[in-house]
């Protein structure tokens, strides 16, 4: 258990509304990631963070923004949700080099988002 929680766990929202998903970690890890999981695609990286206020885009970043104002929280925002963003969203962390291998990622429980 890497101490990762995600909120909400389920959400249904309407097209065009803003949505923010939260990832919270309790172990002070530097690196955090957001993935989405869709049938037939596995998991795909949306954005990642390598420190407070340090973020970068992943493979499928269009339509998403992120923020990290504290080490423990990584927020994913859909500014104007679309039906194509219906998915399961996973947060992950990887540790600092020297504490636990920084090459292993540990995942939160996921958030199922439905955009109607």
């Amino acid at each position: 258990d890497a101490g990762i929680t995600q909120s909400p766990r389920h959400k249904v929202t309407e097209t065009g509304t803003p949505v923010t998903l939260r990832c919270h970690q309790t172990e002070n890890h530097r690196y955090m990631y957001w993935y989405r999981q869709d049938p037939g695609h596995g998991l795909r990286l949306i954005h990642y963070s390598y420190g407070v206020k340090d973020t970068d885009k992943g493979e499928v970043s269009d339509g998403y923004s992120v923020s990290r104002s504290k080490t423990e929280d990584f927020l994913l925002t859909l500014e104007s949700a679309t039906s194509s963003q219906t998915s399961v969203y996973f947060c992950a962390i990887s540790a600092e080099r020297g504490l636990r291998s920084s090459y292993e990622q540990y995942f939160g429980p996921g958030t199922r988002l439905t955009v109607t």
Binding site: Y31, Y33, Y35, G42, L43, S94, S102, Y103, E104
Partner: protein, 116 residues
Amino acid sequence: AQTVTQSQPEMSVQEAETVTLSCTYDTSESNYYLFWYKQPPSRQMILVIRQEAYKQQNATENRFSVNFQKAAKSFSLKISDSQLGDTAMYFCAFMKRNSGYSTLTFGKGTMLLVSP
């Protein structure tokens, strides 16, 4: 860019038998890691096993072992003495070795059903 291919969308095995899940990948990198993740119906992503590309010895974790063929870019997972709790989606994943953060590229997954 890296690609990961899992050619078996579904597999089934009977309890106590052995099953092998296939994974191939394509990369021009020389330093990388490979992983197998398990996703049971609970949706939680669980790290099963990892392999460092520079290690020739195949990784083993209890009933789970890999056959890593670097030249062939193949990374299969063998599950021995299958148990009902092994029923899950299994994802193969590739990680390029960076200086700090790490990003995963996933295959599309293989659904494994273990029957009594």
